[in-house]
Amino acid sequence: MKTFKSGGVHPEENKLSAGAAIEALPLPEKVFIPVSQSLGAPSKLIVEKGAVVKTGQLLAKGEAFISSNVHSSVSGKVSRIEEITDTSGYRRTAVVIDVEGDEWDGQIDCSREIKAEITLSREEIVKKINEMGVVGLGGATFPSHVKLMVPEGKKAENLLINGVECEPYLTSDHRLMLERSREMLIGIQILMKGQDVKKAYIGIEKNKPDAIDHLKKLAAEYPGIEVVPLKVKYPQGGEKQLIKAITGREVPSGKLPIEVGCVVNNVGTALAVYEAVQKNKPLFERVVTVTGKSLKKPSNLLVRIGTPVNKLIDFAGGLPGDTGKVINGGPMMGKALTTLEVPVVKGTSGILVMPEKESKRMPVVNCIRCARCISVCPMGLEPVLLAQLSENQMFENAENERILDCIECGSCHFTCPAGRPLLDYLRLGKNKVGIIIRNRGKK
């Protein structure tokens, strides 16, 4: 069984919602659509207060190279354009739309039949994906059209599709692979054409045997697509780890996957690409796992972007009384929410409700130099050293110890028997080192 070699941990999987079929969440009365939802430059707002919009209409245009379009996820009236609290408690500009009915933009192909034939050319595919605001749905929200444009001098050989879902609790990708497999496979073919590669691998961890069997059967009909079962190990869904696991190649430090001829896309992204290219449907809804040990009904919901998080939790049985923490994403890399009124965005893969007794960290004691953080680090770093350097503000030394290679997977903190906040300090250090490097560039 393939996997990446060095480091990694195995947290309890807790895939509570693995058996729950995807349900569409009823439309909320109001949606809050943040103007910028992807990595890169902020998008430019093109609607005004009072405008009447249809589902799928463009709200904000990504003008820079790395930026993406944002579309309306509902039909109705733009009641306000205001600053709303985002996941971290800071305020960001968002379009507030009062929902009236659900009238879709005329260009969207609403039929349910699957359109297998790919008629667009390579350039048209890239353009279409850009127009429809498709971004990486694994969590990083990197604009997908940028990934398709291979820099000059480089050649993409393999397309890797990330169906690993190594984060505990989350099951949205798993359900997608089971329920929307054909569309997804066509999406993969589109990506292959867009990138001009002949070979695509779908990496799936062994804890989803049904998805592996199902896709293996179907993939036989699609030339060049191969399903690769992988050993269960976190963080296998990390781009660099996935490439290592499937192809055995190591992305050099500080470089992008294209350096070793690979491009990685999430299964959700493949589906979004299918819908964008074949159905003309912008990315305005996504599957979100709503889960938690004390939640009544852990579910996988098809949610319109901009729906407040508390609507999702209400649908899944309401917020349990013993809630201590609500996480946007999985427990290993997700972000704890400060309020439940924040909207679902393109990068929201799950909402995890943690009971109070699991929401506090363990007490911090002295480091006993057990070196577990070193042995689990998938990047071969020394988290204990880096955290120390960053705590003592020795950022130049931290840079030399390659703090920027850290993928923030959290394995070090997960495994630390002394409960030390290693990743906190690594993040802080990465931040500061980034600033130092940018300032250096200016001089």
């Binding site: 427990p331 002295n366 990047m379 071969g380 290679d405 959290g410 903190h413 002394a418």
Partner: protein
């Protein structure tokens, strides 16, 4: 509903904590405790009890009245130090010496550096070496083992260890074969189960290996240091043995006799004072193995494990600095 908690990821944690690791080590030492009580009688239990009690007491008194900081007495680390110190002394050591050893272990080797995790040397070994140098007579007169309740032997009989017999005999000009054939020499089998003279915890290879296996499967220790340590000691002593079997002890006897197994699995693997990266741990193990045999063969003392480990402890920061883990995506320097 109470207030939401906000913290950085990850939001889940593995099952191991410092306490579980420390108590895991204690559990691993239980078989050896039983064996030593079997062979040395209640004396062994007495030594262990006093050593543990003294270690816990010194941690408590230092943290409470000297440092005035939080009490971490129940994290298990003082317990481990106490048992390990007891394992490293003869079972007939006077009470006050054990207490002095505990004071040196806890007070000087551990708390003066900042407590748990800050000590450069293994505290139990510092305590043992302090006692060995200060009280060489008491520290090297080992009671002769006798099975519990075996009749006819009085408690007061003392005798040398396996390595002691060999060292003295070799110095007197006898050959190894001659010595191993002599009456009173424990032999392989007795060294294995523990019927040999020696410190409280070091006598039975089987009991210690059982504990080591437990620690390995609980993932408290990794294979790197033990394998490198025993490997290098085995190869080095093997080469010497091949050169002259009459002058040098064979490698298997080196493995079984003295504190080798105890040192390799329980003290060289001490997390705090051993290197962090796997490569560094291999270097550490190889160095300690070579030093052990060097000291055993040419040194003044018959036993070299404690000195070898302490010397390598001193090298740990250097090893940490020079042997980094293999970085992911490291580009080999282009020439």
């Amino acid at each position: 509903m109470s207030l939401l908690t906000v913290s950085g990821s990850p939001h889940v944690h593995g099952h191991q904590n410092v306490k579980s690791i420390m108590y895991g080590v204690v559990v691993a030492m239980i078989p050896a405790i039983f064996v030593s009580v079997y062979f040395f009688g209640l004396d062994a239990a007495r030594v262990i009890f006093i050593s543990v009690a003294a270690c816990l007491f010194f941690v408590w008194i230092i943290q409470k009245y000297l440092l005035k900081g939080p009490l971490t007495i129940n994290d298990g680390s003082a317990l481990v130090t106490g048992v390990l110190l007891a394992f490293n002394v003869p079972s007939n050591l006077p009470v006050w010496m054990i207490v002095v050893g505990a004071l040196v272990s806890i007070g000087i080797a551990k708390m003066s550096f900042g407590g748990l995790g800050k000590n450069p040397f293994n505290p139990a070994l510092i305590g043992r070496v302090f006692l060995l140098i200060s009280f060489p007579v008491q520290m090297t007169s080992w009671p002769v083992p006798k099975a519990l309740f075996a009749p006819g032997v009085t408690d007061a009989v003392t005798g040398p260890t396996t390595l002691g017999i060999l060292k003295e005999g070799l110095n007197a000009g006898k050959s190894v074969q001659e010595l191993m054939g002599s009456s009173g020499f424990p032999g392989y089998m007795n060294d294995m189960i523990g019927a040999q003279g020696g410190s409280v915890g070091e006598i039975s290879a089987i009991a210690l290996l059982l504990g080591a296996a437990y620690m390995y499967f609980r993932k408290i220790i990794t294979w790197h240091i033990p394998v490198a340590y025993t490997g290098s000691a085995f190869v080095f002593s093997g080469i010497l043995w091949l050169v002259d079997p009459a002058r040098f002890i064979d490698p298997v006897m080196h493995m079984l006799a003295g504190g080798m197994i105890l040192g390799v699995f329980f003290m060289a693997t001490d997390m705090v004072s051993s290197p962090m990266s796997p490569r560094g741990q291999l270097v550490f193990g190889v160095g300690a193995g070579l030093l052990t045999i060097l000291i055993r063969v040419w040194g003044a003392y018959p036993e070299g494990v404690s000195f070898a480990i302490l010397i390598m402890n001193a090298f740990t920061p250097l090893i940490n600095r020079s042997f980094k883990p293999k970085r992911f995506g490291e580009v080999p320097a282009k020439s």
